[in-house]
């Protein structure tokens, strides 16, 4: 297969789902280093399943996934943990961890058998704290944080894991508009500033159009992929929802409710 060297993630004719039930198929896209990509689509179309498959949590049904040019299935879990980090919708099991302790867990792939932190690890943790404006909260317990703060902590943990690819499952749910924009802006900075490849699922189509470099639309048929402007021109967003309820306005890049 042909892989250009800058492609971090390459997905070819992927089918995802469970044993007998195909959730989505014929998914193909490629992501370059430093790009922010949103995955949009209606509920139940397979966004989370795609993310779980890319993250190595569940086996694909068919097709190919290449991470840094290597077949995803060939990675051992400890090698994969240095290439790919993930932010899930589930809350951390223990919220009694402090912000700093939780972010420090992101360094586990690199630490010794006891998990002792080296100077490099501490530096990475500090960078993550700074990047997500968590410096002042570092000794707070996670159960004391607001939803928006906790989400920032979880993303900061993924950043501390220092992987080429970061996957996030609905990082903006339960947040108000301000914090939605804040977290997506931070993701954009992380992607562009540190050349991280970031893929996240979201229902915030209008924000994704404004902030993402690439968008993957899961529509149950041919799953269009491209930069937001191309997708708007090709009228893919118009077809995302039944048109009798909402209509996509190409000029503003927003959905309008049909009166």
């Amino acid at each position: 297969m042909a892989h250009s060297s800058t492609n971090i993630l390459s997905v070819q004719d992927l089918a995802i789902g469970y044993d007998s039930k195909v959730v989505a198929q014929h998914i193909s896209f490629e992501l370059e280093a430093g790009s922010l990509c949103g995955v949009v689509g209606i509920n139940g179309i397979g966004k989370s399943t795609l993310l779980r498959t890319l993250g190595g949590f569940q086996p694909k049904l068919s097709g190919d996934i290449y991470l840094n040019g290597q077949n995803l299935e060939k990675f051992t879990s400890s090698d994969l943990s240095k290439e790919l980090s993930i932010v899930l919708t589930e809350q951390p099991a223990s919220k009694n961890l402090t912000v700093q302790e939780l972010i420090a867990l992101g360094r586990q792939p690199y630490t010794n058998w006891l998990g002792s932190l080296t100077e490099v690890d501490k530096q990475k943790i500090k960078e993550s704290l700074d990047a997500f404006l968590l410096e002042e909260l570092r000794y707070r317990k996670c159960h004391e944080l607001s939803d928006g703060q906790l989400q920032r902590v979880l993303v900061a943990r993924a950043m501390a894991q220092d992987t080429d690819l970061i996957l996030l499952d609905e990082p903006t749910t339960h947040l108000d508009l301000y914090h939605k924009v804040q977290i997506l802006k931070m993701l954009q900075q992380l992607a562009h500033g540190q050349q991280k490849t970031i893929l996240f699922t979201t229902h915030e189509i209008e924000l994704a159009i404004q902030l993402c470099d690439r968008i993957l639309i899961l529509d149950g048929k041919n799953h269009p992929f491209g930069n937001p402007c191309e997708l708007i021109e090709q009228k893919h967003f118009d077809r995302l929802f039944p048109s009798e309820m909402v209509q996509f306005d190409e000029k503003t890049g927003t959905y309008k409710v049909n009166k």
């Binding site: 993250g55 879990s77 899930l88 951390p92 961890l97």
Partner: protein, 343 residues
């Protein structure tokens, strides 16, 4: 993260407290021995009264060490379970692990006599009791683990643990009904719990089992910390779920099963001590929590045993009753005072 200075101070305090409670434990008992004589006997000098030396060296010192092993080991198994099941109310007693050990012991102590008629008890060594109790606790632990993977609800898991407790105690009752008076008495005494009746060989065996449990726990420190985020996150951090889960389960089963075999089912220590420890050591880092719960559990057990050993009286209360009397209010206090038991 790193162990800060303040924890070193707490560790030093705990170590001193452990030493003091050990001394207190050793100097109290049914025979009143002056403290000065206890000290001089411990330092290797003769007290002049032969029976005193005998009582101190052959009875009280082994009992003190048993308490330390039992308290520390049970507390560690509780900590492991709370992290593994992501549940603050998990513990060897609540999840039915102790009941499993009881069932194993009951089958051995009472079941064999039913099967084999008047089998003499002598061929059943200490090792077989330890094995039977450990197998019992492993079985229950394995079933609870299987159920835990299906039922994500922590409440349901606890109720299932309680149900296992009911099932095993029902089987034990049936066994007891058909058992001979002598074997029934053996089992009843065992179920009261005791740290005092261990021979040197038994003590060494128990120490070996607890040591293996502690070593496995230390080797699991990194994965235990990762489990604090949940299993999916742990996997994404490169933790081999199967391997680390197995290591933790074996450690828990050995600790809870082995200790229950020798000392009887001792309630609440495993559940309460990790929470008490977190009141002092405000961290989730297992590197700090593991030694802390070992120390704390040992102290608590020594104190409970000292209480059970009513000073200057010949009667010894069942240790299981004492730990319940101390442990249950602690759990209630934690729930009421802190609203929820933070884990």
């Amino acid at each position: 993260m790193e162990s800060p200075r303040s924890y070193r101070f707490s560790f030093a305090l705990l170590a001193i407290a452990l030493f003091l409670s050990w001394l207190l434990n050793i100097s109290s008992g049914s025979v009143s021995i002056p403290f000065a004589d206890v000290l001089s006997s411990l330092l290797g000098k003769n007290t002049g009264v032969a029976s005193w030396d005998y009582i101190i060296w052959d009875y009280r010192v082994p009992k003190g060490f048993t308490s330390i092993l039992v308290g520390g080991g049970l507390s560690l198994s509780g900590l492991l379970m709370q992290t593994l099941f992501r549940n603050p109310l998990a513990g060897p007693f609540v999840l039915g692990i102790s009941s499993g050990a009881s069932l194993g012991a009951a089958l051995l102590l009472m079941g064999t006599s039913i099967l084999a008629g008047f089998t003499s008890f002598s061929f059943l060594g200490d090792v077989s009791l330890a094995i039977a109790a450990s197998i019992g606790s492993f079985l229950v632990l394995a079933v609870v683990m299987l159920v835990a993977q299906r039922v994500k609800d922590t409440m349901a898991l606890l109720i299932i643990g309680l149900m296992f407790g009911s099932i095993t105690s029902a089987i034990v009752s049936v066994l007891a009904y058909f058992s001979s008076a002598e074997n029934l008495q053996r089992f009843t005494f065992w179920s009261f719990g005791s740290v005092g009746n261990l021979s040197m060989d038994q003590l060494l065996l128990l120490a070996g089992i607890v040591a293996i449990g502690i070593i496995l726990s230390i080797l699991s420190i990194k994965s235990l910390n990762a489990f604090l985020l949940g299993e999916n996150y742990a996997q994404s951090l490169g933790v081999s779920l199967k391997k680390s889960r197995t290591a933790i389960i074996i450690a828990t089963g050995l600790l809870a099963g082995g200790i229950t075999a020798f000392a009887g089912p001792i309630a609440f220590v495993g559940l309460a001590v990790p929470h008490l420890t977190r009141q002092i050591f405000d961290t989730m880092e297992h590197k700090i929590l593991i030694p802390a719960v070992l120390l704390y559990g040992a102290i608590l057990m020594l104190l409970c045993d000292t209480l059970a050993q009513l000073p200057d009286s010949a009667s010894v209360l069942p240790i299981n009753a004492i730990t319940s009397l101390v442990g249950a209010p602690v759990v209630i206090w934690l729930l009421v005072r802190k609203r929820k038991m933070i884990f």
